[in-house]
Assembly symmetry: D2
Homo-oligomer: 399 residues x 4
């Protein structure tokens, strides 16, 4: 394991989260230099996190002699320029989500890093929450059979910084901000080799006086027949709603990452302390999380990234993943305009996935639809006659 | 308050639930005669519930001299004939859900009862759960502002009786069985005067060897701009999943009717007792509900029905509601085939509803997008310049 | 089933709950006359609930020609006089909790009704919540093996009426108000034939400027060896905390009757509606219950009482139960003063209960303490040598 | 921040947890040598965790030239000898819980490290769970007012290793194993300067054929008047129950560390993967935790320990804390025998704490007991006459 020295580009909320994680609990990797567009913010950030140097020169920061990894924590419209600079410098690059404002932009960034042959990681933290990692492992291990449906929901009252609200800078509204998380969570549960075929999406701007969507719901049909469903909102009240649900032929998973995690507090007021990233109130019943950077996935995400660099392997989340997420979001926006299913046209690098299999069980020449244990202890079969298509109940055991 | 004597048509699971409710806790209304297609089942049912008479003659049951109310608890394809018989007899009729197999059939039943001038109630129990009634009242009282989104989910491993699986008899699959509940729950939260305009739906048959859908997700766009979302499944594992979520401009509601209601039990096995309608296992962690007929709405539903008869008023759920639900399901099935939004073409008897209103607040000539209280106590506005469309952060108070 | 006409004594909050229950959902039993110490309150109560007559003459109310059942919903210090009046009138009597201010007073009431030979029910609603009834039935059915421990907790910020705070009128503080519920819940789970042997209790007055306890914790040792534990508080913040936990040799039960029942609502404020009996706030996250009178047990309690009268059987909760609860509370108060375990000296009418049985399993001549399945699939026994008392691990199966 | 090289004494489950934590996510501190009583176990452990050296010579391991910190992860009866060896070697020592088998033994260990002047940390992981740390900080910040009551509960079906069951080696049963956690959690919420004055405890051996207690409940009275309550069990069914509850004059905190943390999974079976430390079943509803070593406090615990060594400060949990915990457990065992409150006789090094303060508010010369907002909007005071002690209701505002 090597110690890495990091160039941090950007000093917003996400830069704070990243640096908090890197400089947290006995870690060996540290931010060496930070870039901000304004000297004051850079200086304050450096002081806050004990970073030796800050600069307003992006290229100088990227090329800094002591760093080997560059983290891009800038607004969406500045990703491409930053990636280009890192590619030119030949360093490893880790870029925050979403990768691009659209698939075309993401495609160019993907090509840059592939051409430069550098390590490139996609910083999709919510795919790395400890719950998600363990749940995905359980699904891979067969705990819930074949996945039929994944719901990923992310909703809060709206972003904290002005630029997030400007679709010209971000590429859209709540989908670009939150949907990218949901889509990649869904892909992890579906299996990354399961091709996203087409998307149906509804968007609307119901509350905020902006041009982009503040609410959206979408369905993604995968090659296996499974459906991914994401719901994003900038108008949710009550905190930050971060939940995932997975249905399989042999089980069910429910994850709650924020509002109901076994930490419940009622306060009559007067605490004055910062409770959670998106808490709406300061008194009454509050639902903090324990260790935000751990529970939101930042710790495991950076561990995977640096371990992957050390091991010369690809990280769990790559620039290709980021590009594909942009491709799915592009299809969602197209569908919201057309009112119909729209194909995902991004380049597919995975293989093919078989349709969810339903193997028919036969009983006495009839197809078994369901086995039931009745309250009185009898066992019942519901059968279908393969010839007539008629259904019947049959008691096969019990009193 | 008058005591009512009931003719019960049907002796299946739903007939048991209905009679259990009517004969439960000190009620004044009793089943006087029960009709079953087979004498044995009628006799057993009568004995189980202490009903004086049973018959295999539907018309005799309907015309029985001592009864004034007829409850239709028959499979879907038998509703129309039964309603016609009751209309001819001039008695009050209460019909289980769904009203018809499609809107056209429901339309005929609606016309029959309107022509006959009889009281006609639609037995949609889940709109009457105590939680739903209180939550709807809170929404009507303004507790969550304007409703922007309602999710209603009903999922279990599949129905208990053979006929449910035969789309020729029922009119479809999981949508006809479960979606009718979700749609009417959604309408209650939206406000019944809020017109359902169009529907987008995806269906698939993923697990069971049947011709109809065992999974479906749909969006319903209402005139106000709000979205109703229903998810139904006959392939859910883990019990019966009955949840509703409501988002409003000023609040949020989460209801869980079955699996997480404050009753949690671990058993190492050996109990041997019937835990809940759709529990899948007999040991491990189980989640019973307290009083099923009360918590699933049957008690309040029948109270409303009989009170409405006594008061000469319409019940909360009418045949028109049942007809409209069929109209929305018809649109869902059309959308599943077309892959596009499909209009709800059922006759609309409500008025018009204004679009969800977003009133812009101005600050210094700029549109206020969001107010934030920063962790350090400062207050920040996110503003939008109405001329350029540019967004900016502005600190307006604090250190 | 007969229709009963009720004399209601008392017009406080509990009188409202009782009448709301009796006059609710299609019930056949009605309040015919209400007694209040002040005419205004009687009149208002009568109007609120549609009661034909009200009076300030307790004896006239009790002897009213049209009623056959008298409900005592008066402050604790007025129970004895009221019971005496009903006993003299020879009618059925239902008395609210606690029966007396102490066991001696309760004893006199018990003797009155036994001497008069009248039906006497103890209105302990929380033993009748649908969850409790179903959980107790599951325990009786063997679902959790032998009960080893029951925790019952009731806590809120303090009572609503002045007289509750005056120990001279009530007999004590939070124990008399809330502990009586907990004790009887515990007894139902333990089995009513399981003798409460001794009590250890700590009380304190931590917050309110009163003479009686506003907080108490107690342990009750039952003859089987099982421990009942009650926690009561008049200083809880956040609503009303009503939870029970039961541990058995073969299982676990957790009940939450109020704050987490599957109904969660966030409101930014302005609702203005009454949310729940003991809710502390009007905005933020709120946790209403569905149907309070049902979920708190009132519906099932009155059903049991009137059904018992009709059937000529004893109700689930009798005056003897109320007397025994007073006896346990007396022991708790004695223990709080002595700082030691105090015996329950109330007359015991039950039988004897065997000690919780631990049957030893032997393996290879050693006592099996525990069987474990290791993560790697091996099976391990923890064994105890009966001669030396030494413990050892032994792998008995697996790779 | 310095990198530390660790001598690990012990290769049991706790040694695995410790090493898993130290070698986890990009940490800078590594185990350099491991000691086991048997060479095979040492070799397997070394291979499992990539540790360069293993030995069966405890003193050699302690004195190893490359290590500066020794972690004692041995059974209880071996702590004293190990601490003595480390004190002689003059290295920093971190010792697992409980410190001693009783206060006298703990006292000797405390004196050894104080005399040697070495850094000594008490590895009480559950005081370091992220939820506990944040909750304790909220309490310190005033979020719930003055603490009146803390409940800490730890229950599971019994330990995994033979020696745990032998009270001669451990010092007792469930109290020594689990109560030590609960006591120190309680002290953290109470404030470490709040003196534990006396203890009331009940123990019993209900299920397992052992000489020590498999169930215990205890109350600890603190100088402020607040009550700590711990419940420990080796007979719990359903997994591992790890919950804390804190009541304050201005709020409430509920923590659930294991069974309900926002991760819920139903599996029809066949997963075959290790779900959680103390899960009882492999199918049905399971409740895994995300990242066990983080959520159970190991990550933050070691971070505090090494940071404290680097900074030359005391850690959050010291040998004095461990000694005091033993002192409280000693009092608990004495109380279980005497059936009465027993004083905590361990040396007290903290100061004094004032009694929980109740400041009386006056209204019109009367003591205000409670303010209420009635459902109809009126405001009511419950008042106490300071002269007569009489209580009254008074409406002070509204309609």
């Amino acid at each position: 394991m090597r110690d890495h020295a990091v160039t941090m580009l950007g000093t917003g909320l996400i830069g704070d989260f990243y640096t908090n994680t890197l400089h947290g609990q006995r870690g060996r990797d540290r931010v060496r230099v930070v870039y901000s567009r304004t000297a004051d913010r850079g200086a304050a950030f450096g002081q806050r996190w004990g970073i030796p140097e800050h600069t307003t020169d992006l290229h100088a920061a990227v090329r800094h002699a002591d760093t080997d990894v560059v983290v891009v924590a800038l607004p969406n419209h500045l990703h491409e320029e930053a990636i280009a600079a890192v590619a030119a410098a030949g360093k490893a690059v880790l870029c925050t989500k979403p990768l691009g404002r659209n698939a075309e932009e993401a495609r160019r960034m993907l090509e840059m890093v592939e051409k430069a042959g550098i390590f490139a990681g996609y910083l999709e933290d919510l795919c790395y929450t400890p719950k998600t990692l363990k749940a995905v492992a359980a699904v891979r291990g067969g705990a819930i059979g074949e996945v039929t449906w994944v719901r990923s929901r992310e909703a809060h009252p709206g972003p904290h910084s002005a630029w997030f609200w400007d679709g010209r800078l971000t590429g859209g509204g709540a989908i670009i901000d939150l949907g990218c998380h949901c889509i990649e969570i869904i892909r992890n549960f579906m299996g990354k080799g399961n091709r996203p075929v087409e998307v149906m999406c509804h968007t609307d701007t119901l509350v905020h006086p902006i041009a982009d969507e503040d609410n959206a719901v979408a369905l993604i049909r995968f090659e296996s027949g499974a459906i991914g469903q994401f719901e994003v909102s900038w108008t949710f009240r009550g905190g930050m709603d971060l939940r995932d649900e997975v249905a399989g032929t042999g089980g069910t998973i429910w994850l709650n990452h924020f509002l109901r995690t076994g930490f419940e507090m009622f306060t009559a007021g007067g605490s004055g302390s910062y409770v959670a990233e998106k808490s709406e109130s300061e008194k009454g019943w509050l639902f903090p999380v324990g260790d935000e950077v751990s529970e939101l996935g930042y710790v495991d995400m950076f561990a995977d990234m640096f371990d992957a660099i050390d091991a010369g392997r690809a990280p769990q989340e790559t620039f290709y993943d980021g590009y594909l997420v942009n491709g799915i979001m592009d299809a969602a926006y197209r569908s919201a305009r057309s009112g119909a299913w729209e194909p995902v046209t991004a380049e597919w690098r995975g293989g093919t996935t078989a349709r969810i299999g339903s193997v028919s069980e036969l009983y006495d020449g009839q197809v078994v639809i369901k086995r039931e244990l009745l309250p009185d202890g009898r066992q019942k079969l519901i059968l279908k006659d393969p010839t007539t298509g008629d259904f019947s109940d049959r008691i096969i055991a019990g009193r």
